[in-house]
C-alpha cells in the first residue's frame, strides 16, 4: 500500500516564559522575562500507509497533540519534513484540507445553539459536497451512529455522547482519506466509548481511510490499532505492533477481586500480590495464565466481582523508560 503520511526528523520547539512563583517573582518577571525551550516533539520519523489505523500513545504532555497538529497542518514544524497525501501539511492547500479531518475530544466545531443538522449543511457547502454524496453520507452515519432525531435538537442540549456522535458525522461528511483524532473518547461513558470505537473500525473497513488516533485510554488503542507509536517527552520510543509492545513491556495483567467474605487465604501462589484488604485484592498475573488463575480464584474464594485489566498506559510507558526498553 502507498505511503500516505510521512514524517522525517520532525521537531517542534516552543519558547515559553518561565513563570516565577510568588509576588516578587511576578514583579521581576514583569521587567525581565526568562525563557526556556520546550521540546514538544524531537526528531520524530515514521511512515504510515493508506488504510492503517495507528495509535499515538504517551502520557499527558508527551507531545501527541502537538504531533497531530503538525501533521494536520495547524503548526509549522521547527525542523524536519512532513507530508500527508502528497501535500506539505502546513501549506494548507484546499485540496489537502478536503482530504483530512481533525476531531478533538473536548472541542466542538458544531454550532452550539443550533441543531447539528445546521452545522452539517454549512460543512456541505464549505467542502463542496454534491447532493448525492451528502445524502449517502447522511444515510451511512445515521445508520452507523444511530443518529435519528438527535440531529434536530440543539447541540447544547445533547448529552456528551450524542454530541460526539454528531461531531464525528460533521467531521466525516466530506469523506476525508485521513482522520486525525485527538482523544475522541475522552469524557464519554463506557458504552459510548465502545460505540465510537465500533464506528471507527467500521468506517475504516468500508472506506479504507487512514486513522491517526491519540488517546490515553488503553482500551481505545487496543480495540482500534494494530500499530502504535509511543511518544514520551517528545521522542518516539516505539513504533510497531501493539501486541508485541504489550507482551514485551507488560507480561502481566491485573486481576482485581471483590469478595463476599473476608480474605484470609494466602494469595501469593496465584501471582504477585499488589494489594490486599479485607474484601478486596489486586494480583499481577502473567498474561498466559490469567484465565487459569481466575478460574482457580473462583473456586477458592466467594467472589463478588472480578475484573481483569491491562496496566495503565502511563505504567507501560514508564516502564519503557525506567527499564530502558527502547525497541527501535
Amino acid at each position: 500500500m502507498k505511503v500516505q503520511i510521512s514524517a522525517s526528523h520532525l521537531s517542534k520547539f516552543y519558547e515559553v516564559h518561565q513563570k516565577e512563583p510568588g509576588f516578587w517573582g511576578s514583579m521581576r518577571a514583569f521587567f525581565a522575562r526568562k525563557y526556556e525551550t520546550v521540546r514538544a516533539i524531537e526528531d520524530v520519523s515514521f511512515e504510515i500507509r493508506e488504510g492503517e489505523v495507528v495509535g499515538f500513545l504517551g502520557p499527558n504532555g508527551a507531545g501527541k497533540t502537538t504531533a497531530l497538529k503538525v501533521l494536520s497542518g495547524l503548526l509549522f514544524p521547527t525542523s524536519g519534513d512532513v507530508s500527508v497525501c502528497g501535500f506539505l501539511s502546513f501549506d494548507r492547500k484546499p485540496e489537502f484540507l478536503r482530504q483530512i479531518t481533525l476531531v478533538m475530544g473536548q472541542k466542538n466545531q458544531l454550532i452550539w445553539d443550533l441543531p447539528a443538522s445546521e452545522s452539517f449543511l454549512v460543512n456541505r457547502a464549505v467542502y463542496e459536497i454534491s447532493q448525492g454524496d451528502y445524502l449517502a453520507a447522511m444515510k451511512e452515519f445515521t445508520e452507523l451512529l444511530d443518529l435519528g432525531d438527535v440531529l434536530n435538537k440543539q447541540v447544547r442540549k445533547l448529552s456528551l455522547g450524542e454530541r460526539m456522535k454528531c461531531e464525528l458525522a460533521a467531521a466525516l461528511l466530506h469523506r476525508p482519506r485521513v482522520l486525525f483524532l485527538d482523544e475522541p473518547t475522552i469524557g464519554l461513558d463506557v458504552t459510548m466509548q465502545a460505540r465510537v470505537r465500533e464506528f471507527l473500525i467500521e468506517y475504516n473497513r468500508r472506506h479504507g481511510a487512514t486513522i491517526l488516533l491519540t488517546s490515553h485510554y488503553m482500551a481505545d488503542v487496543v480495540a482500534l490499532c494494530k500499530r502504535v507509536l509511543v511518544i514520551d517527552h517528545g521522542r518516539l520510543v516505539y513504533d510497531g505492533e501493539l501486541e508485541s509492545l504489550v507482551e514485551q513491556i507488560s507480561p502481566v495483567k491485573y486481576i482485581r477481586l471483590v469478595t463476599q467474605q473476608p480474605i484470609v487465604e494466602d494469595l501469593s501462589p496465584f501471582g504477585e500480590v499488589r494489594s490486599v484488604e479485607t474484601f478486596k485484592a489486586t494480583l499481577a498475573v502473567p498474561r498466559e495464565r490469567t484465565s487459569a488463575v481466575a478460574a482457580q480464584l473462583f473456586r477458592m474464594l466467594s467472589i463478588e466481582d472480578i475484573t481483569i485489566e491491562d496496566p495503565e498506559v502511563e505504567e507501560i510507558i514508564g516502564r519503557i523508560f525506567t527499564e530502558k526498553l527502547l525497541s527501535k
Binding site: 495547524l74 494548507r92 481533525l102 466545531q109 445546521e118 454549512v122 457547502a125 464549505v126
Partner: protein, 261 residues
C-alpha cells in the same frame, strides 16, 4: 458565494434564536439620542451652524438607522474563538474564516430592517418636516452607501480581531477604535459642527464613509456629483482596508502556525 449563503443561513437561524436579544440591543443604542437631547437644548435659542432642531432630529435618527445597519459586534465571537482554540477548526476547512465572520456580522441586518422600516415610517408621521430625502434614486444611493459602510466597518473590526493572534486584548483595541470612530465618523457629532479645519481633515478618512456619508445622503444634503464621488471614494477605502486585512491575516496565520494556539 454558495459557501457564504450556507454560512449566512446558519447565522440567520442562530440570530433568530436570539431575536429578543437583538431587539434589546437595538433599544440600548442611546448615545446618539443623548447627544440629540444636548443639541436640542442648545438649539432652543436658535439654529446651530445651520442645524435647526428638526435638522438635529433628522440627523440623529438617520444616524441610528445607519448604526443599526452597519454596526459590528462580532469581535466578541472572534476573541472567544481564539481563546478557546476553536479557531483551529476554521483553519482546517477549505474556506477562509472571513466568509464565516462576514455572514455572521450580516445576519441580524435583515431583521433590523424589519424593525427599522416601520419605526422610520412612524418617525416620518410623527415628526413634521423630517429632513429626509426619500426619492427613489436617492434611496438607491443611500442603500449602496450602507453596503460600503458595512464593509468598511466589517474590515476594520475583523482586522482588529486578527490582532488577537499577537495580543490577548483585541477587545481593548476595539474600544479604543470606538472612541475614534464615534467622533470622527459623525456618529456623535455632525461633522459640519466641528471647526472647519477638523472637518476638512476628517472628510476623506474612512470614518466619514462609515457613517456621515450615508447620513448626508439620507438627508439629501449631497448633490448627485458629490454622491457619486463619495461612493467611489468609499469603495476605494473598502479596497484599501481589504488589502490591509489580507496582509494582517497572512502574518497572523504565520504567527499562529509558529506559536500555536
Amino acid at each position: 458565494m454558495r459557501k457564504f449563503l450556507a454560512e449566512f443561513r446558519a447565522a440567520w437561524n442562530l440570530m433568530l434564536e436570539y431575536r429578543i436579544m437583538v431587539v434589546i440591543w437595538m433599544l440600548t443604542i442611546v448615545l446618539p439620542l443623548i447627544m440629540l437631547a444636548a443639541w436640542l437644548s442648545i438649539a432652543e435659542k436658535g439654529p446651530v451652524a445651520g442645524y435647526s432642531r428638526t435638522t438635529f432630529i433628522s440627523y440623529y435618527l438617520a444616524a441610528l438607522v445607519v448604526r443599526n445597519m452597519t454596526g459590528m459586534w462580532f469581535i466578541w465571537e472572534m476573541d472567544s474563538e481564539m481563546r478557546l482554540g476553536s479557531l483551529s477548526f476554521r483553519l482546517l476547512k477549505p474556506m477562509d474564516p472571513i466568509v464565516h465572520f462576514l455572514a455572521y456580522a450580516c445576519s441580524s441586518k435583515p431583521f433590523r430592517v424589519l424593525i427599522l422600516g416601520p419605526a422610520s415610517l412612524v418617525a416620518l408621521l410623527l415628526i413634521p418636516g423630517l429632513q429626509w430625502n426619500l426619492e427613489a434614486l436617492n434611496l438607491l444611493f443611500f442603500v449602496t452607501s450602507l453596503v460600503g459602510a458595512l464593509m468598511i466597518l466589517f474590515l476594520m473590526q475583523y482586522t482588529i480581531g486578527l490582532t488577537g493572534f499577537w495580543i490577548t486584548r483585541s477587545i481593548s483595541v476595539n474600544d479604543a477604535w470606538f472612541f475614534t470612530y464615534s467622533l470622527a465618523s459623525g456618529y456623535l457629532v455632525p461633522l459640519d459642527l466641528f471647526p472647519p479645519m477638523v472637518r476638512d481633515f476628517l472628510w476623506f478618512l474612512p470614518f466619514r464613509y462609515s457613517m456621515s456619508f450615508s447620513v448626508e445622503l439620507l438627508m439629501g444634503r449631497l448633490s448627485m456629483g458629490a454622491a457619486l464621488q463619495g461612493i467611489v471614494l468609499q469603495w476605494l477605502w473598502v479596497a484599501g482596508l481589504f488589502a490591509l486585512n489580507r496582509w494582517v491575516w497572512r502574518r497572523g496565520l504565520r504567527r499562529y502556525s509558529a506559536v500555536g494556539a
